[in-house]
Each structure stands twice: as C-alpha cells, then as structure tokens.
Amino acid sequence: MKRAAVLGTGQTHHRTRRTDVSMAGLCREAIDRALADAGVDWPQIDAVVLGKAPDLFEGVMMPELFLADAIGAAGRPLLRVHTAGSVGGATANVATSLVRAGVHRRVLAVAFEKQSESNAMWALSIQPPFTAPIGAGAGGYFAPHIRAYIRRSHAPGHIGALVAVKDRRNGARNPYAHLRQPDITLESVQASRMLWDPVRYDETCPSSDGACALVIGDQAAAEASAKRVAWIRATAMRTEPTFFAGKDHVNPRAGAEAARALWHAAGITDPLDEVDVAEIYVPFSWFEPMWLENLGFAEAGHGWKLVEAGETRIGGRLPVNPSGGVLCSNPIGASGMLRFAEAAMQVMGRAGEHQVAGARTALGHAYGGGSQFFSMWVVSDTAPASV
C-alpha cells in the first residue's frame, strides 16, 4: 500500500441558508479554498469524488451529474458516494484508496449539503405505506438510546450540557462555524427547551448549508508540497444493520470494530495517550461520551468522566471537536468530511484560533444511519514508517 496525505482542506461558511450561492457555487467555495490551501491547480487533479446524503434533500437525482463541469470533474473520473451521515468520511476514505492503490496522484474529494433547498425533516419523515406513523422527529430516534446510555453508565444529567457548552464555545473560535456562541453557559443550556426528553434544544445540532473539500495526494505530491501535509496513517469503515435482535444502540459493535481496526492499522495501542485531538461526529451532545467509549478512549460506562473532568476541552488530555463540531455546523453530507478535514488541519497546524497546541496525531470520525455506518481516519504530521 502506498502512502497518502491531505495536501489541503477547504470549507464554506456554514449557515442555515446560503441563499447567496447555487449548489455549484457552494461546492466551489470549499473546493477553491482546498486547492489554494494545497497549492494545487486544476490540471494536477486526476479525479473527483463527491459525497452527499440523500438526493431528496436537494431534489436532484445524482446532482454530481449536472455539477460535473463546475466541480472540475468533466473529462475526469467522478465517483459519487452515499453512506448516510458517514458519507463525508467515507468520501475521504474512497479518495484515499484511489491514491493508495496508485491509481491517481492527486484526488479532489468534496462533500456538500444544501439543506435549505428543501426541509430535512420533511425528506426524512416521508412515511411509506404500511408503516406505523410514529412521528418522533430527528432527535426522537436517538433520544431513547441516549436515555439507555444514561441508565447504563449512571452518568450525571448535566454531562450533555457540558458538551454543548464546550462545543459552542469552541465554535466561537472557528470563523466557518454556523453557530458561534462564546457566552453560552451550563445554566443557559439547562434552561433551554426540552425537545426530546432527555435532549434539550441547545444539545442538538443545527441544520446547515455547507460544503467541505480535501486534496489528497501521494507521497511524491506530499513531498512536493510547500506546506505541512497531514499524512493519512489509517482509515477504517464498518457497517451493521439498522435494527436486529441484540443490536447495541448505545455502543454499536460496528463502531467499536472500526475503531479497533483503525488503531491497529495506525499502530496505536493506547488511543487516549497517543491521539492529540479528535474530531468526532456528535450531532447530539450526549454522543460525545458515548463515542469516547465506542472508540476506545474510555472503558464502557466511563466516557462521561472524561467530559466531566474537562479532559475533552482544548487544553485537556483529549480535546474533542475544537472546531465546534456537528453541534455548531451540520451540512449533513459534508459534516463527516468536516471532521476529517478539521483533524487534518490540526496536524497541519492550520486550525487558526481553535488550534490544539502541538497536535501531531488526530482522529476524524463520522457515523450515519441508525448508528450503523462508521468511517474514520487517523492523520499525523509525520509520514507513517511503513504501511
């Protein structure tokens, strides 16, 4: 397997409605920034991989077809990935494979969602015939599993609010974040409206328009880069069914096995010790402690203790989502790639005001569907010794 590295990243300013741009314009805002960051021009791009969540969100069937020209794919190979919420991460992983296989030297990966073209709640709540109309909404799917986590781990009730405060304050340091709330407090989160008990308004992600792009290159491209690159040490993807008898919705095996495979491939034996910063897909604040356990940063039932002790803040043992994460910006199809890009930005030393000092190894993580599709990568500031 050949080496691969992130040469550059780009993202849009994420907003509820980016009515100033078309879909092409939204993608190009991220792409142009990624190309500039990578110091790469269009003729050097060999292929494009586009990721996006459901086509019903934009009302375009396979929008990469009409976008081919604007996103620079015309005349080149173009793949369109869709693995639900994990798609942004999966898209980065597919682009990585193209480079690792030696097929291409430089690949452009782009992910976007323009949720304001429609209404995600509408698109997700289309009720097929013969099913029970148990309308619970987006958070209603996950809230019962959060309740189960609280029961199982005996976590104190304020853990979710602690995560929300941390992420929203982090987002205030990120110029691209949708929600930037430097003054949010534990009290204000706990005073916010209870939406899906036990999940409060301030503990949920927004709905955003946005895009993210990465330029991934091979070893020669990485070594030719004038700036620091993020070497991709390992990638992993795992899937399990949405529902099956015995499914662990709190600590899904697919996530745990993806993480195990990832740490093994990266040569990491103690993730909490060896990973400097993690960008984890947390659409509801309680998922931070849940995923800390699922990823092996903490024993089952103990993830909340890292949160409570402040270890996931910038400056803690494992800063989680210094960018503000999904809780601050959620352009669904791009949210996973944003985690992967932010991890890369940290080890490239280009995360600006939300830079974690001395970050050398970072995790990017995404999940989707009913906690069933997982994609992740580990990036470092130095090339892996052998792959």
């Binding site: 397997m1 050949k2 078309s22 879909m23 969540a53 459901p54 086509d55 019903l56 969100f57 934009e58 009302g59 375009v60 069937m61 396979m62 929008p63 077809l65 009409f66 081919a68 020209d69 794919a73 015309a74 005349g75 080149r76 190979p77 173009l78 793949l79 369109r80 990935v81 869709h82 693995t83 639900a84 999966a90 597919v94 494979s97 193209l98 690792r100 296989a101 030696g102 097929v103 698109a123 997700l124 289309i126 097929p128 990638t235 993807m237 795992r238 899937t239 399990e240 069914p241 949405t242 099956f244 499914k247 095996r253 697919a254 096995e257 993806a258 569907g369 009913g370 069933q372 599709f373």
Partner: protein
C-alpha cells in the same frame, strides 16, 4: 510491490421482470448473493468488502439503500460502502480497495425497482435543476434528441437502429418482432429502440491473490477506467461520446476484443458507443441481448461486466469488454477489460 491482479470469480443476476420484488430490494438480493457466492466458491464471511449502487429516487425514499444491508446479514459488522450510481462504479470502488491492498475479496451489488415510479419522468431529475429539470424532459425524449442529432449527422439510420434491436432480441430470445412502421414513442425512437422498464438486481464477486486462483473459473481484470462528460445537452456534441473514448484509452482497450457487452439503453447509443470505442465488425456485441432486453436501473451496468466476464470464464471469449453508462445521453462511461490470461506487460 506491484499491484495485485484482480479477477471476476462470481456473478449472478435476478431475472429482469417488468415488475417484481419489494421496493427495498432485500428479498430480491438474498438469492442473488447466494448464487454469486456459490459461483465464486466463497462463504459470505469470506467477503472482505461489500459495495453497492442504487438510487433513492428509484424508491422515492431517502436512505433507501440502508435497508438492503439487511440482505447481507451484516452482523458481525462488515466493511461496506455505497455509491449513488450504477453498481458498475461500486465495482470500481471495490476494485480500487483490492488494488490498495485493503481487501482481497469483494462482493459488489446493484438493485432498484425501476417500476416503482414513472421511470422516464423520475430520470428528468438528473438534469440541471435550474434551467432544464423544471421543464421535465423525460429520459426517452432526451435520448431522442441525441438520436436525432446522430441521424442528422448521418452517423446512424433508423434501419441500422432497428437492426441493433433485432439482433438484441434474437440473442435474448425475445420473439416480439422489430417494426420499422411502428409509431414513434419519442420521434425518432420507436418502442424497439428503447430499453423496457424492468426491476432487477445483480451481484459480482471479485478477488485477488489466492482467492482469485481458488475458484474454478475466473476472468482477469486487465484494465478499468471511467470518465464523465459535461451534462449540458446543448454544450456537448451529442453524436460523440468523449468520456467513453477517454475511458477506453485509459483502460487500454485492446483492439483484438472478442466480445463487448455495451450498456446502451437505446439502439442509437450502441451505434455511438461502437464508434466511440472503435469496435469493428469482428467484435461480437451484446450476446446477452444487452440492456435493450433488460435494463434494471443501477444494476444493468454492473451486469454488463458480469456478463462479459461470463464470456471469458466460460471460454467463449479470450478478451471481453464490459461497459456501463450513467446519466442522460451517455454522459458517464466506464470501461472494464476482462481477459483469460494476464498479459505480461501490466501497466
């Protein structure tokens, strides 16, 4: 270390029927997986990577592919991915995974219930959403604009198109005769010029290393490439297929092909593709009857690769081409070269 050699070692497809199976595809896929794995001599637990192609707009539901994972029996968890494209591109993703050394075996599948909606109208949503799709140009009308351009340019004739249909029907054992006096569906396309709407699924098993050699029959993949053209129907010369030509060049399409399975849902598209790929009269085209006799959306392209591989695996051909297309008017094209023997000079 040089890139591993990869072979097609198993293939199966569901019968193409005008209307069959559930919207989710699960019940259709279960026997297809079983058959493809049996053909490959593999147990499902020996599959390192699963990859599928399908479309939410065929089912009319967001995340429609998620259900299909149930057909795999994905517990303990599996390594898996999905493209919102014909499964021929899922095959490409899986092939690259193997080349990268991330897997040795992969099962690729495509599925879709084309009959669930009004297919030709649904496909209008593939067109530019600002200036084209609001006019709802259906897929048959769009293909007709391409056919007209080819007729006007003298590249095809209605008779040559009818001959493509007649040969395809004869190969597929379809008894319905081709009728040049039949009314147009969308001028200049008649019923025999257009693929029928049908439901289906297909699965392909590929492998490298010892797994590739273990089974009784294999077809080596010696070149794969794909390209996309601009979509604007008025931006392109609709009578050429530059993306197919470029993909063929990148894949190293040999000039001594025995067989080609071309994914041409319309008769004129086969003629345009033959020209774009430089396929001479010596090449046997679509012995399966082609997409004109069965075009299950999102698996028909993958099936072309599987059927071309069948030609090689059965010994009927030494070199075969599997081709897939996606998008309006042959916008995106994939070329896969399959051979009985791996040539010495691998690129």
């Amino acid at each position: 270390m040089s890139a591993p050699r990869v072979a097609v070692i198993g293939f199966a497809q569901a019968p193409c029927l005008p209307s069959a199976g559930t919207t989710s595809g699960v019940e259709t896929l279960v026997p297809v997986f079983r058959e493809a794995l049996a053909d490959a001599g593999l147990d499902r637990r020996q599959v390192d990577f699963w990859c599928s192609g399908s479309s939410d707009y065929l089912a009319g539901r967001a995340f429609s592919f998620v259900n299909a994972v149930d057909a795999i029996g994905a517990y303990p968890p599996i390594a898996e991915s999905h493209v919102e494209m014909d499964a021929a591109w899922a095959f490409y993703e899986a092939y690259v995974k193997i080349l990268a050394g991330e897997a040795e075996t992969a099962l690729v599948y495509g599925f879709g219930k084309s009959s669930a909606g009004r297919l030709r109208r649904v496909l209008a949503l593939q067109l530019d959403p600002y200036v084209v799709a609001p006019l709802w140009p259906d897929s048959v009308s769009v293909a007709a604009l391409q056919a007209r351009a080819a007729l006007d340019a003298g590249i095809v004739t209605e008779r040559a198109m009818a001959e493509v249909a007649a040969r395809s029907r004869a190969d597929a054992g379809v008894s319905e005769p081709v009728d040049l006096a039949a009314p147009y569906i969308a001028d200049p396309l008649r019923r025999h010029d257009c693929a029928p709407v049908c439901d289906g699924a297909a699965a392909l098993v590929i492998a490298s290393g010892e797994r590739a050699l273990a089974g009784p029959r294999r077809a080596w993949i010696t070149g794969v490439a794909h390209r996309i053209d601009v979509q604007g129907l008025g931006e392109r010369d609709l009578t050429t297929v530059p993306s197919a030509t470029a993909a063929a060049s990148a894949a190293g399409l040999p000039d001594d092909l025995d067989v080609a399975e071309l994914h041409a849902p319309f008769t004129h598209q086969e003629l345009l593709l033959r020209a774009a790929l430089g396929l001479g009269d010596r090449v046997r085209i679509n012995p399966s009857g082609g997409a004109l006799c069965g075009n299950p959306m999102f698996s028909a392209g993958l099936a072309r690769i599987g059927l071309a591989a069948e030609q090689v695996r059965s010994g009927r051909a030494r070199r075969a081409l599997g081709h897939a297309t996606s998008g309006p008017a042959l916008q995106q094209n994939l070329i896969c070269v399959l051979e009985a023997d791996v040539r010495e000079a691998e690129s």
